[in-house]
Amino acid sequence: MRDAIITLDGATRRFKRGHAVITAVDAISLAVERGTFTAIMGKSGSGKSTLLHLMSGLLTPDAGRVELLGNDAGQLSDNDLTLLRRDYIGFIFQFFNLLPSLTAAENVALPLLLARRPRGQALSRAREMLATMGLADRVDHKPDELSGGQMQRVAIARALINDPPLLFADEPTGNLDSVAGEEVLLLLKDLQTRQGRTIVMVTHDAKAAAYGDRIITLRDGRVQQDIATGGVAV
């Protein structure tokens, strides 16, 4: 049994929508173990993105507890949570979320630059990362000069620049064609199996979820199903 990198204990998160209060995540308890690939599935509005945000420290719980990398996320200050994200967590988003004014290399180097690492060093590391993603010839391109698949690979490189043990991916293939989507999923799987990183991915696509070795299905903010699949072979 490997140790847990994330533990949720009765974690609850509510939102106000107009006058109504919606419980997006309803007293979920679970643990994510180091080096695993967890896929979170569910219909639209099931609470899967909110769960991801709670697990990653982008949101804090209204009730219950989230332990992230050994820290009680609810007790950390905004600054400490920010630093935790910057140094130990990588994010991959559906819409890539690259800054349009920066080049591919600068986008990748963003976490290092924010951590005030020397610019030259940060950019050279970013170039290396991009090269491993097969984007060596795109380092100086701006996002609007890249294809969807390329943009997502840049986003993955950015997520990895700090060599984080934990990666969160929110619908990483949602905006890609099937070929590019599969490339990204294989890359994620590779990061788990070869590099031992922990991956938590939100998706509504069962084929994508099959890359995980555990699939958690949500319904109305609660865990409906939590099964270990072993994942697809790579």
Binding site: T50, L58, N79, L83, R85, P100, S101, L102
Partner: protein, 852 residues
């Protein structure tokens, strides 16, 4: 369909309250300034014209003095017999303080012949009758109310020999073709007015009524022949010319200040409306996809802009009216009273309302036109695609550079041409110069988006990176994504700062120049005048009083001085200064631009000589040793020019004359002020107190110390600049709003980017730094261009100060104005950025990441 429009617009405008409010405020501020300036200008002009028309009554021609000095009364009999003249009605006028018990007022008084007066004017007597005998006076109902006096009461009227008692015999309405200016006035028998105002045997005006068949031009020519330069003939409206140049300068300055604010307000509107349209591109595209035609989308957007424009204009009209009321009062009190003009309240008429609405709605619709066309030009499918929501900016860099460069260069060349060869004392030339200046700034505005990337590469980015590290660089890069929007925002600040540097620098240079001149020239310890503080109602003093003052213990020199506006041979006014040159050199040695003071004084004492100021010499094309012809009540006289002086007051030129010549040719012994030099060891304050004790109440005296006089003079100068400063700070406020507005709009647009930054590890402080960095960079761009243009304008103003406002100003680097402008650019701008920065830092990261 209309129901749909209304519903869509209402939903959008209410959902985007902040942006709607900002747009409305931007429009309101612009309209406020334009309305305030228009109403103030109209009030000044209308008052002045109505004063002239009131004075004129039914007179078709008017004989007036060639200064405020009167002309021989015999002239009236001479013109009365000119063929074509049916009647010649004489009058004498003066402003004077009047007392009734404890109550005191300043008013204008007219000496009239009641039986003849009825020919040219109607008096609506409400109580009593017109004055007929010595010691009788009739006053307007307004003055009666102020003094709380009516028929039978005795009032004290200041004469050249002190207060004199008069009995009020009548009260009349100040309406119709009565004599008088706006404000309170009274009439008394002509002979009495001549006696008490020091005009024995003299008149100030003769109103002429013509025979029915007579041609005005012909009669005027015949009258002028008779006058032979001792007085002038003209229509009542001709007198407007004297004051027109003064009003023109004022109106010009007001107009420039109003344009700056409209300029800045225009940018806010442009940015907001433009961004609003961009933000709604998807919604508008859905409408297009569902069947709304291009024209209908454009109409929807323009309709919303017009709605915001109308709301802003309504607020602006109200605020503008309030501001105009304040400005008119301030102008009257601080500035125009010196010239005897009193402006009544500002009035908001239908034409102003229409103009305000047209400006507000027009600018808003104009700003929305481009973006709305751009939106409908893109296919709905393209616009509905997920992605960045920013408006693609045009890529016509070369075309823009060419157009901007051409405007800047042409306007620049025009400015140099006007300043080098133009006659800046002419209002038309000044208006052209002002227009060129605005065109020059507009050229820079057009050019700025092209210059920005260069500026960013060489200055902004390195600077921001050095100051804020990576976040600073991110800030400048963000700005460069929308050079046109950044340029528009920075331009608003640039225009305000240009005028801040130029006007502030000029005011400081003028003050310093005046101070130098004052220290060198004004050697007296005390200055005595009657009713000095009621400057519009000053009464001359009789010469015997000078001897009385000389006899006061502690007084070493009592030097009489006489000042008056006169009309020169070219028909334009000048300022006559008369001194006793046996006394003047004992306490003053003013610097001369040409000639030697000591030698000049000797020549003046000998008679037949004058010194004139440099602007007058330039205006008349005269130099040292030339002869100057002065129109005197004894006819034209020629004087040798023995010195050319610096000009420090906006009188359009001064003539410096010896008292003996003045008494001889003007036949006038009265004194405007008496300069006193105290004995060594005597305390000027004690002497001042003694004079006030002996004569203060009797003669309504004001005795000013050297320092007091300087302070009062500075206060008058400052009064004008305070108004300008106020207008400039309003425009700075508008540009500050423009910066905050652009930042807010930019943040809304890039909300997701800030979410990414926060998600990838930017702390709140770092997020704030990005936004403050954007504000600082915008401020730096505006400051840089504003400082450059401002210094250029300052230089032009100083160089042309002599023609521009009749005062030669020495060139001094405007440190204070420059540092203030830099402060505004580099401190105020980031401060303005703090609010949006806090908002950005507190943004919900998850919400921001979801933001489309």
């Amino acid at each position: 369909m209309n129901g749909l429009y209304t519903s869509l617009s209402r939903t959008y405008l209410l959902a985007k309250k902040r942006r709607t409010a900002m747009t409305v405020i931007g429009i309101a501020l612009g309209v406020t300034m334009v309305t305030a300036v228009a109403l103030t200008t109209a009030a000044l002009v209308a008052n002045y014209r109505s004063v002239l028309e009131g004075i004129g009554g039914r007179a078709e021609l008017q004989v007036t003095s060639i200064g405020g000095l009167g002309f021989p009364a015999a002239i009236r009999d001479e013109v009365a017999v000119v063929p074509g003249v049916r009647a010649a009605v004489p009058a004498v006028s003066s402003g004077a303080p009047v007392l009734a018990g404890e109550r005191k007022a300043a008013a204008s008084f007219y000496g009239i012949l009641p039986d003849q007066e009825a020919l040219v004017r109607d008096y609506r007597i409400t109580d009593g009758r017109l004055p007929l005998a010595a010691g009788e006076l009739a006053i307007t109902d307004e003055l009666a109310e102020r003094l709380s006096a009516g028929p039978g009461d005795t009032v004290q009227l200041l004469s050249t020999a002190g207060f004199a008692p008069f009995t009020v015999v009548g009260v009349f309405r100040a309406q119709g073709t009565v004599r008088g200016t706006l404000g309170p006035f009274g009439v008394l028998p002509l002979a009495e007015a001549q006696r008490i105002f020091g005009r024995p045997g003299k008149l100030d005006t003769v109103d002429l009524l013509l025979e029915p068949q007579a041609k005005r031009a012909e009669v005027k020519a015949r009258v002028e022949q008779v006058l032979a330069g001792r007085a002038r003939a003209g229509t009542p409206a001709d007198r407007a010319r004297d004051m027109d140049s003064l009003l023109d300068s004022l109106i010009f300055a007001l107009g420039i200040a109003g344009s700056i604010s409209l300029f800045s307000g225009g940018f806010i509107i442009y940015t907001n409306v433009g961004m609003g349209v961009t933000e709604r591109r998807r919604e508008l595209s859905v409408l297009r996809a569902l069947g709304m035609r291009r024209g209908e989308v454009v109409r929807l957007v323009l309709g919303e802009a017009a709605l915001m424009g109308a709301a802003g204009a309504a607020i602006g009209l109200l605020l503008g009216y309030g501001l105009a009321v304040g400005m008119v009062e301030q102008l009257t009190r601080q500035f125009l009273a010196i010239y005897g003009i009193e402006a009544a309240g500002a009035r908001l008429g239908p034409a102003n309302i229409a103009a305000g609405l047209a400006v507000g709605i027009g600018v808003a619709v104009f700003a929305a036109w481009g973006p709305s066309r751009e939106t409908v030009a893109i296919s709905p499918v393209e616009a509905m695609r997920q992605g960045e929501l920013t408006r693609p900016e045009e890529r016509h860099g070369l075309r823009r550079a060419l157009i901007g460069g051409a405007i800047t260069m042409l306007a620049g060349a025009g400015i140099i041409a006007v300043w080098t060869w133009g006659d800046l004392s002419s209002p038309l030339t000044r208006q052209i110069g002002g227009g060129l200046l605005m065109a020059f700034l507009l050229g820079i505005v057009v050019l700025m988006p092209v210059l920005l990337p260069l500026l960013n590469r060489w200055l902004l980015r390195p600077l921001a990176q050095a100051m804020f590290g990576f976040t600073g660089r991110l800030a400048t890069d963000n700005l460069m994504r929308h050079p046109r929007r950044t340029a528009a925002t920075a331009s608003a600040l640039m225009v305000s700062l240009t005028f801040m540097v130029a006007m502030g620098g000029f005011a400081a240079a003028q003050r310093a120049t005046l101070e130098d001149w004052f220290r060198q020239t004004v050697g007296w310890d005390l200055l005595v005048s009657s009713s000095y503080e009621l400057i519009g109602a000053q009464v001359e003093m009789d010469p015997a009083f000078v001897e009385d003052l000389r006899a006061v213990s502690g007084v070493r020199i009592a030097s009489p001085q006489r000042f008056s506006r006169i009309i020169m041979g070219d028909g334009a006014p000048a300022f006559l200064q008369v001194f006793d040159h046996t006394l003047l050199p004992m306490y003053s040695s003013p610097p001369l631009d040409q000639g030697d003071w000591q030698e000049g004084v000797q020549r003046l004492q000998a008679g037949g000589a004058v010194m004139i100021s440099t602007p007058l010499a330039d205006r008349l094309g005269l130099g040292m040793g030339d002869e100057l012809e002065l129109l005197t009540p004894s006819g034209p006289q020629r004087f040798r020019i023995v010195g050319i002086q610096k000009e420090l007051a906006p009188f359009g030129g001064t003539v410096h004359l010896d008292r003996r010549d003045y008494v001889t040719y003007w036949n006038d012994q009265t004194v405007t002020v008496v300069a006193l030099v105290t004995e060594d060891g005597a305390d000027p304050a004690a002497v001042q107190a003694e004079i006030m004790r002996r004569y203060g109440a009797e003669r309504n005296l004001t005795v000013q110390t050297n320092q007091g006089y300087w302070d009062a003079m500075m206060e008058r100068v400052a009064g004008f600049y305070r108004l300008m400063d106020g207008l400039i700070w309003v425009s700075i406020l508008v540009s500050g709003l423009a910066i905050a507005n652009t930042l807010f709009s930019g943040l809304l647009e890039r909300r997701r980017e800030f979410g990414i930054l926060r998600a990838t590890g930017a702390r709140r402080a770092e997020t704030m730094r990005v936004v403050v960095g954007e504000a600082l960079s915008t401020g730096a761009v505006g400051g840089l261009f504003g400082l450059g243009a401002g210094l250029l304008m300052f230089l032009l103003m100083v160089q042309s100060s002599q023609q521009f406002n009749g005062t030669a100003v020495d060139l001094r680097f405007p440190w204070v104005a420059t540092l203030t402008a830099l402060g505004v650019a580099l401190i105020l701008a980031p401060m303005v950025g703090l609010l949006p920065a806090r908002w950005a830092a507190r943004m919900d990261v998850v919400e921001a990441l979801r933001y489309e």
